[in-house]
C-alpha cells in the first residue's frame, strides 16, 4: 500500500482528534460527571488508535489503546475521575502529540511510552489507589461485569430518549456462519451498515474485542434507528456470511423490566440521579452534535495549502492584467471595451474577495491550544487563572495565523506570570481568588484585533522606569516627562524585564521585544493599556491579509514607488519656503509640532527627473507608532490595490524597500518600507 498519500490525511485528522481530546479533557475537569464528554474523548481516542495502527505507528496505537481502556472504565462508570487520572491522561496526550509532531517532521513516531502505559494500566487495575493507601478492592470485580450484557444508566437513558422521540430501539443478536474466515471483518461490515442508519448504543462483546476477533460466532448490540424491524433484519442480513439476525424491538417497559432484573449495586443510586437529568439532556445534545458533524463533514473539503497559494498567484496575475486592461480601455475610449472591462473589474473584485477568504483561517486554530497551556502554567506557578476566549471564529490570513502563535504564547505567559497575582495576594486585595485572562479577537475595518486582558496587578510605572534607567534605556530626565503609554512601550525594549526573580515561564528579558518585532513584521502594532492594581491589556492590531494591500503610488524622479496606505497619515502640499533647518536637518511644522522632512530622492539616490520641478512640495506624512515623519515626493499618482511580490532572494536586506509589485503597464514598482526611514 502506498502510505504516503494517506500520511497528510492522517496527520491532519490526528491533530484534530488530539485537539478534540485536549478540549474535552479540559471540559471534563470542570464537569467530571458529564459522561457525554468522556464518550467524546473515547471516540477520538478510538479513531486515533485505529488510524495509527493502520498507518503502522505502533507506539502511538499502543498508548492510545491503554488510554482508551481507562476511558472505557470511566464512561461505564466503573471508575471515577481524580487528579491522578487527569494528570496521567494529560501526560498521555502530550506524548501522543509529541509522537504526531515527530511524524510530521518525518520521524517514525516512535517514543518510549512504557512508563505512561504502566501508569495507565495501574489505573485500569486499580493498583494506583492501593499504592496511595486508599483501598478500593472492588475495581477488578467490577471489570468482570463489563463483559455481561448490561446497560448502564446512561445507555438506558439514551434508549429511552430515542423511544420518546419515536425512534425505534432494538436489541439485535447477530450470528456469523461457522465457516466464515474473517469474522471480525464481517462484524465490522455489520457495524458499518448499522452506523450508517442509526447509532449503536452498546455492543457485547465490546467493539474492540469484536475488532480483535475476540468473540465466538455471535454478538449482540443495542441499537437505535428509524428503520422498522423488517428493514433492519434485511440490512444486516445483506452482509454476506451472516447466518442469522434476531432483532427485538424494545419498549420503555421491556427495558425497565430488563433493568430491574439486573441487580444494581450500591452505586446505582447516585448514578440513577444523574441518569434522571444530565445524561438525558446530554443524550440529546450528543445526537444533535452527531447530526451537525455529519452535515459539516459533507460540506467541507481539505485542500492542500500549496494549491491555494497557486490560486492566489494566478489571481495576482489576473489582477495585474486587469489594471493593464483598464488603462488600455481608457486610452482607446471605445464604449463596448470600457463596459466589458468594467464588468470584468467587478467580477474580479468579487473573485478577489473569495480567493482571499479561502486563505482565511479562524484564529481558533491558534487559540485552542491556550486553555491547556494556561492550565499548565498556572499550576506550575500555583496561581489560579481562568482563560476566557471570545471571537475564536474571527478569521485571519493563513500567513498571519502561522506566525501569530508564538507572540500570543509570550503575551499569555507574561500575563499569568507578571499580571495575575498569587491567590493569597488577590484575596487580601479584595479580588476574587481566581484571576481571569480575557483573550479576544475581533474585526474592525481592515484590521483584526487580538486583545489579552488580565485583571492582575497592572504595570508599575515607577518600577519600569527604574529598570529602564538602570539599563540605560532612558535617562532620569527623560523618565520624568514620559507619558504612561511611552513607559509601557519600554517593556518592548530588548533586554528588559521587571520580574524580581527569573522564573521558568518568563522574566528572562527576552520575549516582549521578540513579540513586538514579530508583530511588526506582520504589518501589525502592539498597544498596552494598564491600570495599577486593576490589570493590563495588550492589544495587537493585525492586517487582514498580507498578499494584497492598498497603497499610494508616488513618483520620485522618473521612478514610481508604492507606499502602504496603512502607514500613511495624510498627504499634503506645502510651500518650499516653509522648510526649517534644525541642526542642519530639514524639518517642517506639522500640527502642533515640528517633524523631520525626508527626501525620498536623496534616500534612494534617484536620478533627476525630466519634468520641471513643481512650485509646491508634495509630502506624505507617515507614522510608526507615536513617531511621525514627512516624506518628500514629486507626484502623487493615486491609490491602488497592489499585489505584494517578493523581490527574490538574490538581493538581501534592501534598505527602505519591503518588496515589489507589478503595475498595470507591466512595470515593476518597489514598495517602500516607511518604518526603515525613521531614525
Amino acid at each position: 500500500m502506498e502510505v504516503n498519500q494517506y500520511l497528510s490525511m492522517f496527520i491532519d485528522e490526528s491533530k484534530d482528534h488530539l485537539q478534540a481530546m485536549n478540549d474535552n479533557l479540559l471540559a471534563l475537569e470542570n464537569a467530571p460527571d458529564d459522561m457525554t464528554i468522556v464518550q467524546n474523548i473515547f471516540r477520538s481516542a478510538h479513531t486515533l488508535k485505529g488510524m495509527s495502527a493502520t498507518m503502522g505507528f505502533e507506539d502511538l496505537a499502543h498508548l492510545t489503546h491503554e488510554m482508551e481502556n481507562v476511558l472505557d472504565l470511566l464512561r461505564n462508570q466503573k471508575l471515577t475521575m481524580d487528579d491522578f487520572i487527569f494528570d496521567v491522561l494529560f501526560k498521555g496526550l502530550d506524548s501522543l502529540e509529541a509522537m504526531v509532531y515527530d511524524i510530521i517532521e518525518g520521524g517514525s513516531g516512535k517514543a518510549d511510552v512504557s512508563a505512561l502505559v504502566a501508569s495507565l494500566q495501574s489505573i485500569v487495575s486499580g493498583d494506583y489507589k492501593s499504592q496511595a493507601g486508599q483501598q478500593t478492592g472492588n475495581v477488578p470485580a467490577k471489570q468482570e461485569e463489563s463483559n455481561s450484557r448490561q446497560l448502564d444508566e446512561f445507555q438506558v437513558s439514551i434508549l429511552k430518549q430515542s423511544m420518546e422521540q419515536g425512534v425505534h430501539a432494538y436489541s439485535i443478536e447477530v450470528t456469523i456462519r461457522e465457516d466464515c474466515v474473517l469474522k471480525a471483518a464481517r462484524a465490522y461490515m455489520v457495524f458499518e451498515a448499522l452506523e450508517h442508519n442509526g447509532e449503536v448504543i452498546q455492543s457485547s462483546p465490546s467493539v474492540q474485542d469484536i475488532e480483535n476477533e475476540k468473540f465466538d460466532r455471535s454478538f449482540a448490540v443495542y441499537y437505535v434507528t428509524g428503520l422498522d424491524q423488517e428493514a433492519l433484519t434485511a440490512l444486516v442480513g445483506n452482509v454476506s456470511e451472516i447466518e442469522g439476525v434476531h432483532a427485538l424491538l424494545l419498549t420503555p417497559e421491556s427495558l425497565d423490566e430488563q433493568q430491574q432484573s439486573q441487580k444494581q449495586q450500591a452505586d446505582a443510586k447516585p448514578a440513577q440521579e444523574a441518569a434522571d437529568d444530565k445524561p438525558a439532556g446530554g443524550g440529546k445534545a450528543r445526537q444533535a452534535q452527531g447530526n451537525q458533524a455529519a452535515k459539516v463533514a459533507n460540506r467541507t473539503i481539505r485542500v492542500d495549502i500549496e494549491r491555494l497559494d497557486v490560486l492566489m498567484n494566478l489571481f495576482s496575475e489576473l489582477l495585474i492584467d486587469r489594471v493593464r486592461l483598464e488603462s488600455l480601455a481608457e486610452e482607446i475610449r471605445k464604449n463596448e471595451l470600457t463596459e466589458t472591462v468594467e464588468h470584468m473589474a467587478r467580477v474580479s473584485s468579487d473573485l478577489q474577495n473569495i480567493v482571499l477568504k479561502l486563505r482565511m483561517v479562524p484564529v481558533e486554530s491558534v487559540f485552542n491550544r491556550f486553555p491547556r497551556m494556561i492550565r499548565d502554567i498556572s499550576k506550575s506557578l500555583e496561581k489560579k487563572v481562568e482563560l476566557e476566549i471570545a471571537g475564536a471564529d474571527t478569521e485571519l490570513d493563513r500567513t498571519v495565523i502561522d506566525e501569530i502563535g508564538d507572540p500570543l504564547v509570550h503575551l499569555l505567559r507574561n500575563s499569568v506570570d507578571h499580571g495575575v497575582e498569587m491567590p493569597s495576594e488577590r484575596t487580601s486585595n479584595g479580588k476574587p481568588e481566581t484571576g481571569t485572562i480575557h483573550l479576544r479577537a475581533y474585526h474592525s475595518g481592515n484590521h483584526v484585533f487580538i486583545e489579552i486582558e488580565d485583571d492582575g496587578k497592572g504595570i508599575d510605572r515607577e518600577k519600569v522606569l527604574k529598570t529602564a534607567i538602570k539599563n540605560n534605556v532612558v535617562t532620569a530626565e527623560q523618565a520624568n516627562t514620559m507619558e504612561d503609554t511611552e513607559v509601557y512601550q519600554l517593556l518592548f525594549a530588548s533586554g528588559f524585564s521587571t520580574a524580581d526573580k527569573i522564573s521558568d515561564i518568563s522574566g528572562r528579558g527576552v520575549g516582549l521585544d521578540v513579540v513586538k518585532s514579530k508583530i511588526e513584521q506582520l504589518g501589525g502594532h502592539v498597544f498596552v493599556e494598564s491600570k495599577l492594581g486593576a490589570g493590563t491589556k495588550f492589544s495587537i492590531q493585525l492586517p487582514l491579509t498580507l498578499s494584497i494591500i492598498s497603497a499610494m503610488l508616488i513618483r520620485v524622479g522618473n521612478e514610481k514607488y508604492a507606499i502602504p496606505l496603512s502607514s500613511i497619515v495624510e498627504t499634503m502640499a506645502i510651500d518650499p519656503g516653509k522648510i526649517r533647518h534644525v541642526h542642519g536637518n530639514p524639518m517642517i511644522n506639522y500640527r502642533e509640532g515640528v517633524i523631520p522632512l525626508v527626501s525620498l530622492k536623496q534616500v534612494f539616490e534617484c536620478p533627476a527627473s525630466d519634468e520641471a520641478e513643481s512650485e509646491e512640495l508634495n509630502l506624505i506624512i507617515v507614522s510608526k507608532g507615536e513617531k511621525i515623519i514627512s516624506l518628500e515626493v514629486e507626484e502623487f499618482i493615486g491609490q491602488q490595490e497592489i499585489v505584494l511580490k517578493s523581490i527574490g532572494k538574490y538581493l538581501p536586506n534592501l534598505f527602505g524597500i519591503s518588496g515589489a509589485t507589478i503595475l498595470g503597464d507591466g512595470q515593476v514598482s518597489l514598495i517602500i518600507d516607511p518604518n526603515a526611514l525613521f531614525k
Binding site: 511580490k645 523581490i647 527574490g648 538574490y650 538581493l651 538581501p652 534592501l654 512595470q667
Partner: protein
C-alpha cells in the same frame, strides 16, 4: 569518454562563455528595468518576468570589466541556481553547443580579466574555439553582494 554537456553559449566582448542548458530558464531581450536603490552597480534592477519579479545583473559589471552600451543583440540570460533566479545581461546569446566533459580543462588564473573562481573551466571546441564555462555558484554568490554593500558604507 566523458559525458556530453549541453551548454548555452553567449558572448562578453570577444570571449565566448557557456552555462549548462539545465541551469538556464529563458533568454530574454532587453526590457525596461526598475532600478533598486542602494545595490551594487552591477545590479541593474528588477524586471517583471511573466509575473515574477526577477533581479538582473550586468555580467560585465559583475566581473569588473568595463560595461558596454546595450545593442540590438544584448540579451538577458535568466539562470537558476539553488533557490535563486537571476538574469544576466550579456552582449549576445546565440548558440547551443555540446561539450565533452573530457575537453574541459581547469581555468588559468585570469581569463579575459575574470578571476578563476568564477569559472568552472575552459573547453576547447573544434580547432581554435575556446569556450569558458561559468561557475554559477560563485557568480551568484550572495555573500559578495553583502560584502560589497558593507564596503560602500564605509
Amino acid at each position: 569518454m566523458g559525458e556530453e554537456l549541453k551548454v548555452i553559449v553567449f558572448a562578453l566582448g570577444d570571449e565566448e562563455y557557456g552555462v549548462e542548458v539545465d541551469k538556464v530558464r529563458t533568454i530574454e531581450r532587453m526590457a525596461p528595468m526598475t532600478r533598486v536603490p542602494k545595490t551594487p552597480d552591477f545590479v541593474k534592477g528588477v524586471i517583471n518576468l511573466r509575473g515574477i519579479v526577477t533581479p538582473i545583473i550586468d555580467l560585465r559589471g559583475r566581473f569588473g570589466i568595463e560595461e558596454a552600451e546595450h545593442t540590438e543583440s544584448t540579451r538577458i540570460v535568466i539562470v537558476a541556481y539553488g533557490d535563486l533566479e537571476v538574469g544576466m545581461i550579456v552582449d549576445a546569446a546565440n548558440d547551443v553547443m555540446d561539450v565533452n566533459s573530457d575537453a574541459i580543462e581547469d581555468p588559468p588564473e585570469v581569463v579575459g580579466g575574470i578571476k578563476a573562481k568564477y569559472l568552472r573551466g575552459v573547453a576547447k571546441v573544434g580547432e581554435d574555439r575556446l569556450l569558458i564555462l561559468l561557475n554559477l555558484e560563485e557568480v551568484l554568490n550572495k555573500n559578495e553582494i553583502v560584502q560589497l554593500e558593507q564596503l560602500e558604507d564605509k
